[in-house]
Amino acid sequence: MIQRLTDALGADSVLHAPEDLAVYRFDGYATGATPGVVVLPRTTRDICAVMKVAKEFGVPVVARGAGTGLCGGATPGLGAIVVSFARMNRILELDIARRRVRVQPGVVNLDLSTDVARHRLFYAPDPASQRSCTIGGNIGTNAGGPHCLAYGTTTSHVLGLEVVDEHGEVFTTHIDDIGYDLTGALVGGEGTLGMVSSAWLRLTRMPQSVRVWLVAFGDIDSASETVSAILAAGIVPTALEMMDATIISAVEAVYHAGYPTDAAAVLLIESAGFEEDMERCQTDIARIARDHGALSWHAASSQRERDALWLGRKSAAGAIGSMTPNYYIQDVTVPRTKLPHALRAVEEAVRANGLRVGNVFHAGDGNLHPLIMYDKRNAYEVAAVVEAGTQILTTAIALGGTISGEHGIGSEKRETLGLVYSSDDLDPMLRLRDVFNASGLLNPEKIFPSGARCAEVR
């Protein structure tokens, strides 16, 4: 098989030495098995060739962007072919007038926005890992980010796809196609429905004015009630993020972002639009925050200060690494009015299991990211973190929420999918998968539960 892949792609595009393969076992969350081979295609044709070889030999294929995923979506099974899109990182077409761009899947999220900034455009979905994560991976997980509150998640920004299917054939989709919205169905497919070889994306105009405010609170409940009140007042900021005292301390210790270390929680709020609207927006949000007991209010006065505040937020998960040997990041969404209840439940679940937690999350979307600290050398703590994580999932579901807001299901949560969906709910999802992945070679053992919970699934 390796020889066939080498013949098709060239020796420099096929890795099979053990030391090369070892790094492809991981993503940002999980450790998989050692793949049989890693290929680095440069073109759509290369991907087709890989898929045909995989089919011929009956070997699973796992698509991989930057490996920043947080649900074990890109981890391979033993002997699998990992398709790394690291070399397919070109912007293929830019249509400024129509604000759209066609890119290869390996383009780094932030690089795209940086590239089109000279035209006063940007690509709106901005996961915290945007400095390294790729568009292909973003499409696979329907990635979100802080600014999805106003702009929507990846699925709202993908106009069309070129996809290599399980047979190694290419097909294309567009959201303006009549009939079935294959584009929408494929986004979030986690590599189980095909491999995206290029994508048309929607670009967004840079707003005329951007304001960022940092608001401190003496307790978590006041902060989360402020979030609900802002939205209930009909104000939808572009981002509405919350960090608790643990995260504030961790970020300040590492990044010196300017967060108040005496606060129990801060809200990082961004609004964007026309300058005339911003004053009113600031007045309204400040009044709501004050009414909910805000301790302090700070408006960033420069782009540099805005960047510093955001860098702290987007680096929070890394910063917490200075406080604990290991951490587990959970990803659940609840209805926004249930935020105070959900946060209390998180605290209780973690404390009951003898652990500590930091909360940094997309409060405006109700998308929680508890970072549970533990030491993986300690078997008790490993068991405790699993238990606390499960309790948080069940709490989110009980509150009318769900088990993943933006990270995906992957291998991490596949066994808990049945907590959200019945076998009847899963049936059409499996039909969809079987249309695009009848062979089961595309990223097997992901998303869907194994075993008795659903006898049909692989």
């Binding site: 009549i178 005339e276 769900t402 949560k413 709910d425 049936d427």
Partner: protein, 410 residues
């Protein structure tokens, strides 16, 4: 269950809908899934044994204004949804024809796209969860009542635009958004040779305006009287502070495009917009046909002028609506009488598709409608769509004839 003669049921609950589908399955009946029929002009004729009328499966299933989400049963009308949301100064932007009758399920299944989507998003982007009854009678939900959700595949996307051929939408959950403080329409007559410049200027303003529609014809439907050809309606939805600035900017842009005068319409601006949307599917007896094309407005403007020239020999009247912000084009062709029209229709259908291969028919009651290329050119992934249909509805019992079976002319 009725005998093989075509009959109808009108379920009021999802369970009743499920029972009807299971019974139909057991009798091998084909089903025609119907909303209010406001988009009946789209798609092929359904050949079925049983009509399922969805208009009685209605109401609000869940609504928490503070969450900015709402769950509705599929037979709820757009007007009912709007009324419930408006009480809390919220909105779901669907912008479909005849909202007093149109159902949420029918509007979504028909894949309708309105003129404000460039600013507020497509209906697909507002849908956060669905419950469908599958062809085999299973009740299957996906998504939920939260605004960010990547738990499993996003099946809701598949049902939107599927014309009820993959599953029957029974409940739809939306994320909603605040209604802007001020709404205003600006209308103007367009002097000759200004259209392309107007489109360009309106596209430049698309960050500020909610809709910009250039209209030729459709006088009876929109104005209620004869008037000039070549007019423009712009919709502004802004904060209190920005309204006058946006008005000045719009007028300024029109002036630069050669349009000297523009009239402010503060009385019922949304009604004005709705009449234009309704016009997009309005027929003139059996003597008209309306096509819709998605794409780029400036390109459509050029090609529709060429189309007009090519059609001049047929004697048909051509009316059109161009959506400058989204690029949609509606073209209505009509004749003096239905017999004469029917005689020309096949030729004119061919001419239209020479200029616009992907033009779809959205309104036509002519008896020869079924002979036309009603779905335009195939989408590139039509084979995958056929596979999906077979997977979701292996016996082809959901709305047979409406979509895939009617795409053979492309």
């Amino acid at each position: 269950m009725p005998d093989r003669k075509r009959s109808r049921v009108a379920p009021t609950t999802i369970t009743m809908l499920q029972e009807a589908v299971i019974s139909a399955r057991d009798h091998s009946y084909a089903l025609c899934i119907r909303g209010a029929g406001t988009l009946d002009g789209m798609g092929g004729r359904v050949t079925a044994d049983l009509d399922i009328h969805m208009t009685h499966l209605k109401g609000i299933a869940a609504f928490e204004p503070g969450d900015l989400t709402i769950g509705t049963f599929a037979g709820t009308t757009l007007a009912e949804l709007t009324a419930v949301l408006r009480e809390h100064r919220l909105m779901a932007v669907l912008d479909a024809p005849h909202p007093q009758q149109a159902t949420i399920g029918g509007t979504l299944a028909g894949g309708w796209l309105g003129p404000r989507r460039h600013r507020f998003g497509r209906p697909r982007d507002a849908v956060i969860g669905t419950t469908v009854v599958m062809a085999d009678g299973r009740i299957a939900s996906s998504g939920g009542m939260v605004v960010k959700n990547v738990t499993g595949y996003d099946l809701s996307k598949l049902y939107i635009g599927s014309f009820g051929t993959l599953g029957i939408l029974a409940r739809v959950n939306f994320k909603v958004q605040p209604i802007p403080a001020r709404i205003r329409a600006i209308s103007a007559r367009l002097p000759e040779h200004t259209r392309e410049r107007v489109i360009e200027r309106m596209q430049g303003l698309s960050g500020q305006i909610s809709a910009a529609l250039l209209i030729d014809g459709f006088h009876r439907e929109i104005d209620g009287e004869d008037g000039s050809d070549g007019r423009l309606v712009v919709l502004l939805e802004t904060s209190e502070i920005l309204l006058e600035q946006a008005t000045r900017d719009t007028r300024g842009a029109l002036g630069q495009a050669g349009v000297p005068e523009a009239t402010i319409v503060d009385l019922g601006p949304m009604d004005h917009l709705q009449r234009i949307i309704d016009a997009g599917v309005a027929t003139i007896g059996e003597r008209s046909i309306t096509y819709r094309v998605l794409g780029d407005a400036d390109d459509h403007e050029r090609r529709s002028s060429q189309l007009s020239a090519d059609l001049s020999r047929t004697g048909l009247r051509m009316e059109r609506i161009v959506d400058a912000c989204n690029g949609d084009l509606f073209v209505r062709l009509s004749d003096r009488d239905s017999r004469s029209f029917a005689g020309k229709l096949a030729d004119c259908d061919e001419i239209v598709h020479q200029h616009f291969p992907r033009a779809i028919v959205v309104a036509c009651t002519s008896p020869i409608r079924d002979q036309l290329t009603i779905w335009g050119e195939h989408p590139a992934a039509i084979e995958k769509m056929h596979l999906l249909k077979s997977a979701f509805d292996p016996d082809h019992r959901l709305n047979p004839g409406r979509f895939l079976e009617a795409t053979t002319n492309g």
